[in-house]
Symmetry: C2
Subunit: 247 residues, 2 copies
């Protein structure tokens, strides 16, 4: 019987935002693997479970280990925070299993992606068309990222930024705001959530022109509104277009 | 004490893809409200629960009822399929509560959005930048939707189409493909999932040029790949850019 490899998104980090399928997959797995930071989060939720962690930039090696373990017939879980299918480990898992010609069943178990969990904290900023764009240029040429930021802003989409900052590229978010600022009004509402779902979760709303780039780090998700987005009692609202008042 | 209104996304439809927070919110609610189709799904999962349903185009009325019930001090849940914050009821709930000047606490509980759950069924099509675009022109001018489709395709984003078809607008998806076809190769991989998470779930992968518009209805989610997306043993893979082979 082929082994089973489940690629599980565990959402923002609390057990409450995990799906039943994700919880069951982790509880039933013989091995749970993932990036060190994620494993630390899961060890608090599943203290009796055995985990294997690897460093951040070892994605391919981690995948190979997971695929090889599964190929021996074990039930293996590979975890990603958020949704395993959105900037997560789902694609690379299929690719590595193909490269190794491994006889395993792969199942992707989706989770709540950072844009969704950040939006819920901020109010309702994603109720209209939204572009999910990562500012990480580790694997994507920056000119392609620029092109997408430009296109999303020019067509008045809400933009949810993943990986807004890292040590190696602290200025990319400022560059991204400059590109979007060609089309988006300086008063466009922006929302930030830091450490979503963790104990020290923090969030704030401001305008594009008052945005403080220094406050952003790799643990933030940043959502830039469209031209209709507004602030309401500290919440960020992107209306869908319903007539609210009167009959 | 102000009443509590929780806007809950229950994901694609099965209990397994619901989060613990969503399940607990529904179990603890005094009233659960939602569009008839969603309530029927939830009645199967929570047979002992009392529900109130309203028709599809009565969103504002449904929200007013929910806000008014919560304002009496009751714990009320308003449900959306997928994520309540992505084309869901979150924004309109805040807007209606503001309009009615209701003294209630609103909490948005995110769920697995259709793009995430469809992606998990199809393989891993959303591992790179993605635009979420609804083809419903009930509340959004069609020229704005066209502009967003054009921008997303021109910048080589993956595109996840929500509401790809309805009785009133059967030809919009064909128009959308024509616009994206200005930039996307005819061989671009497309994936479709119909009735995600339900008993009669169906899914298929094809190329843009072989896409059968007749097979699409309002219960489908359609994902159009970027220029790197490929088909692998019946799965749809959008690579992130990792070097898979060798060292």
């Amino acid at each position: 019987m082929p082994g089973k490899l489940k690629v599980v998104g565990f959402g923002p980090g609390g057990k409450g935002d995990m799906t039943l399928r994700a919880i069951e997959a982790i509880e039933n797995a013989e091995i749970v693997m993932g990036f060190t930071t994620y494993i630390k989060i899961l060890q608090e939720i599943f203290p009796d479970k055995q985990f294997k962690s690897t460093g951040m930039t070892k994605e391919v090696d981690r995948c190979k280990m997971a695929v090889q373990e599964a190929a021996t017939g074990k039930e293996v879980v590979m975890v990603s925070s958020g949704d395993s299918g959105i900037y997560g480990m789902a694609a690379i898992t299929y690719q590595v299993a193909d490269e190794l010609d491994a006889d395993i069943d792969i199942e992707v178990i989706p989770g709540i992606t950072a844009a969704s969990s950040a939006a819920a904290v901020l109010g309702a900023p994603l109720t209209h068309d939204t572009a999910l764009i990562s500012l990480s240029n580790r694997l994507t040429p920056w000119d392609l990222i620029e092109k997408r930021l430009d296109a999303a802003a020019a067509s008045d989409m809400v933009v949810a930024l993943y990986n807004p900052k890292s040590h190696g590229r602290p200025d990319l978010i400022e560059k991204a705001f400059k590109i979007m600022g060609k089309y988006k009004d300086p008063n466009t509402v922006v929302g930030v959530v830091r450490n979503i779902g963790r104990k020290d979760q923090d969030s704030w709303i401001c305008s594009m022109k008052d945005f403080d780039f220094e406050k952003i780090d790799m643990f933030c998700t940043v959502i830039i509104g469209n031209s209709k987005t507004y602030a309401l009692d500290g919440k960020m609202i992107t209306p869908r277009g319903y007539e609210i008042g009167g009959e």
